[in-house]
Symmetry: C2
Subunit: 382 residues, 2 copies
Amino acid sequence: MTTASDKIKQRLAQLRQRMEAKGIDAVLMTDPDNSSYVSGFRAISYSRPIVYIVQRDTTTYIVPDLEKDHAEQEAAADDFFIYHESAQYAERETSFTALFKGILEGRLKGFVVGLEMDLISASLYQLLKDNGHQIKDIGKDLIAMRAVKDDDELYWIEQAGRLSDIALEASFDHLSSGMSELEFDAYGDHKLLETVSVEFPNINAGFENWTCSGVERSSQPHLYSSTRKFRNNDVVVHSRQVWINQYRAENERTFLLGEPAVQQKQYLQLAIDAQKAAMKMVQPGVKAKDVDMAAFRVFEQAGMSDYVQHRTGHGLGLSEHEEPYLRFDNDLVLQEGMVYTIEPGIYVPNIGGFRHSDTVVVTKDGYRRVTHFPGELEDMMF
Amino acid sequence: MTTASDKIKQRLAQLRQRMEAKGIDAVLMTDPDNSSYVSGFRAISYSRPIVYIVQRDTTTYIVPDLEKDHAEQEAAADDFFIYHESAQYAERETSFTALFKGILEGRLKGFVVGLEMDLISASLYQLLKDNGHQIKDIGKDLIAMRAVKDDDELYWIEQAGRLSDIALEASFDHLSSGMSELEFDAYGDHKLLETVSVEFPNINAGFENWTCSGVERSSQPHLYSSTRKFRNNDVVVHSRQVWINQYRAENERTFLLGEPAVQQKQYLQLAIDAQKAAMKMVQPGVKAKDVDMAAFRVFEQAGMSDYVQHRTGHGLGLSEHEEPYLRFDNDLVLQEGMVYTIEPGIYVPNIGGFRHSDTVVVTKDGYRRVTHFPGELEDMMF
């Protein structure tokens, strides 16, 4: 067995308390973020299933042969079950499903099993049902555990935020009319990886970008970056997430090229004001809905609430979007150590989309931004 | 309703034939690749569920508000159901689950439903069970439909292949001892996006890379790129996938820096020979297992079969990995228009990992490579 770090031991202990409270004998996880959170092992799995099993007194990983060494090095697990896919091993387990069934009928026989019901596949769930297991949802417990970050997690989120600022600066330094959305992204990507490479030995990092330029594309909150070239008088929404050592920050800016229409300036100012109003609300004891409504009221007072298409923000950490969400109907009470994006937006047909996003940590008496790229209206006109 | 293209109409007709043969009244899809294949609409969904419903005589999309315009522009769907997440719409549907249940109990009442059982979540599946639906798996049908590519799909896969060659060339042109894995990737990324931007107006493109350098990291087939710096005498496995207009090609090279050990040269030559042997087998009528075994025998004859950790290749197209797989136990017969990676590898503790991957199309009488970056042993020594 890999020696689990204290952090992983604490997380396992916390999960087991929750299992006990719910009468769950074993938790089966397939989500890479959840299982890495509790085991310390993060694989690139793609088409090959990986299952992490936490029982009251033991832990087990089911991994494909090509993740065997990786898992054995990193995972807090007492046992590893390996499935193979080469003729060399034809007399051993070469079917994940057969191996998985064997474990269900063996060590997990008769157990009450906890699953991430929103994430595990219907086919694995049905295998458990066929084997007679009583199933309980453990998804919300994992969300609750992950929502409050410890100091180590916050350190990496801060680094991700700082690096995202550096990337944005590089993209904006190269900004010119006639460059494409993908080129704008690429300058930031390159600078980001160069910086990470110089500053951090032996660490993983990466990013995701979407840039939506022009009236039509910016009016849609989520589109992949394209080769559309920036034109004079474009509204552009640039979105970037950076991750380092698995932890993420989000940094988004809306900017205006050339001679924007009066309304475009007004609406961007409104999005900026809404973001500030929401951010000011962030502190322990406040409800998620209060943060959302602080932004909403800014739009409402300007008569623009019809153009609000999404909540004010989402949790952030290991996953691109994590619960809990800053939604008008969420009574969740914010706690110190939670991390959120604050990104109210409006999307106005024939005029454009307007949204900044910054990442904030809930502190003892308020919040701390981890992204600092300038975003006032005058900073956003080129 | 969006006017569906002829291609989408054909795919819908083909899916409906399969539904009829299986006695399925409605198919519910949540996988973004499957639903974009049949509907023409590809969203960035993250935490917000999107469901595409194909009935015998009508099609429906359930989308969040922020994808409404995007879906209405691109999707072949007769109806759109929208769920909202802003206080403005608090009197309308603001819960995906409530909306979804309403549809199940309404227009789908009593229907036999086809699901992608390996992909849909346990919680949605259970909602269908609770509503009394008989469920059948439609996943294999969607895989079979997607496996054989049409000319338009092949065009984009060819472009992805060509662009991946350009990216590899840029990374190798900048190769130097002391640069990090992430920097090596970044040169290719930048050149790739620049090239795409110049050549293709208004198109989406992207990439994924992993570079594993040194004996320890290269011995593990799948690790995220890190800031580890290349050292003299390293073995490095560089993996790149490029996608353009949603279609992918894969291009991987193992290379040797400085003065490699005799065994490192031998094993890389072996991986090259195994790849050539597998590629030569590719033609219509041959079985998937024959391709896998052609590579395996090269390793076996050299006494190295213990170090084979994975199958010879996977299908490629919309997804990073698609079925069917080139595995020793797969009796699937190859057909013209299928697309595969050919990537046999060995991973030898204390010596390194050795794998090239190229993407090939099955043609009328053999195969055509879509990736052409040089890969002979002498090309791979720096």
